[in-house]
């Protein structure tokens, strides 16, 4: 790493003020697992780092009524170890479990994953399915951006330069005693330390009598420039009986809204086929978590 000024502000206000003063020469750093790799590759392109690690405003996981407030600086290890998250938001624990390695999960943050806005970011599809809301702070005040509005292109988020993501607000899918569960699956060449060839998350809500799927959210990554909600699959599932058949129909509907491409890591046709497989498997796992056993083909 070249000569770089390193700031460790003691408060969010101080961090925002520093960034305002230093402008484009400064980058925020949370866990640094993206920033420091870019520095190693000499692609950092900044002269100053503003560390967000010490800021208590970005830490912790709290419940406020039916809303979970997930601090942006929460590490993936903390997500994984949180018993409340694994009970109520298993779709997010699934993603944390398959990210990087222990060494990386111990420092990488959820906020950093969102702000990096990589098409393969593993927490992004779960957060899309959970309809999380990003809370951004700037010297001018705070604003909220829905996850579905957060990604503009590869590695390009809707946050403005100088904004800090403080936390994500997630309305508990199980609020009001609703039967809801989700699951996330990632396809990669290696179990650890590998980016997704594709990844997919599903969150399902059952009708009060349990006889049908009242609401469904499906999102996939590496199927286009940004992670995407898959509206056709959601429509195919909504109102359907919670069966393997419904999952198969949802899988068949996939692909139209995607822009799947060949890449040096994977051919497009394989991504497309596997998207259908992951959709059925993740759906089956979500239903299993609701106590409904389904057998899916493939």
């Amino acid at each position: 790493m070249q000569e770089i000024a390193y700031h460790r502000p003691g408060s969010l206000a101080e961090a925002l003020e520093l960034k305002q003063r230093l402008g484009e020469q400064a980058r925020f750093l949370a866990g640094g697992t993206d920033v420091m790799v870019q520095a190693h590759q000499k692609k950092l392109g900044c002269q100053a780092i503003i560390s967000l690690r010490g800021l208590k405003e970005l830490r912790g996981v709290r419940l406020q009524g039916d809303t979970l407030l997930l601090g942006a600086a929460t590490t993936l290890s903390q997500v994984l170890a949180d018993p409340f998250i694994s009970q109520h938001l298993p779709v997010l624990s699934d993603a944390a479990r398959v990210m990087g390695s222990t060494q990386m999960r111990n420092v990488a943050t959820v906020g950093g994953n969102v702000m990096s806005a990589a098409p393969s970011g593993d927490t992004l599809c779960p957060l899309l399915c959970l309809e999380a809301v990003c809370h951004l702070a700037s010297p001018e005040g705070t604003r909220q951006v829905a996850m579905s509005e957060m990604f503009l292109g590869p590695r390009q988020s809707a946050a403005r330069s100088g904004e800090v993501l403080t936390h994500l607000a997630i309305t508990l899918p199980t609020a009001g005693g609703r039967a809801s569960a989700g699951a996330f699956l990632k396809l990669s060449r290696r179990a650890a330390l590998d980016l997704a060839l594709i990844n997919l998350a599903v969150q399902l809500w059952l009708s009060p009598d349990g006889g049908s799927i009242a609401k469904a959210r499906v999102a996939a990554g590496v199927v286009g420039p940004t992670p995407l909600r898959l509206a056709e699959a959601e429509q195919a599932l909504t109102g359907a009986a919670p069966t393997a058949d419904a999952l198969a129909r949802a899988a068949q509907s996939l692909g139209n809204s995607c822009n799947i491409r060949d890449s040096h890591r994977c051919a497009a046709w394989y991504r497309e086929e596997m998207l259908r497989v992951l959709c059925q498997r993740a759906g089956a796992r979500a239903l299993q978590r609701l106590g409904i056993a389904v057998e899916v083909a493939a």
């Binding site: 000569e3 750093l29 520095a39 190693h40 990087g100 222990t102 111990n106 330390l193």
Partner: protein, 156 residues
Amino acid sequence: MKRDMEFMLNGQPVRVEARGGQTLLQLLRDELGLKGTKEGCGAGECGACTVVVDGQALASCIYPALEVEGASVTTIEGLAAPDGSLHPLQEAFVKHGAVQCGFCTPGQIMSAKALLDANPHPGEDEIRSALEGNLCRCTGYHQIVEAVKAAAEEKP
């Protein structure tokens, strides 16, 4: 930009001048002369540079040096007793043939140390998951897992 900072290194307080752009790995090897921690990929992907900071295994090659201010850092040099007798994990690695070329060994042992400190009796799955970020080109991993199991069983 340079800054004086203090932290605990292998149980001893140290005071060093760290640079803004420096990684913890560079600080340990180049400033403090602790060459036990290795650099493989330099990008977080191989685990050769693993050290333990406040109980957590992490990749020192992508960890900013200035972030350890006030923290407690343990490296491979901190494991043997002052009289030179090896740590049970080191003994177990030797005994089980878990060391071949040895380049990955400090990182493997530090990952295992963080695991056993937090969870003295891990199952095989937990061992494999704790070590998933440590690549080894020689052993085929089996001996490493056996060594960690053996060291865990030895602990009271």
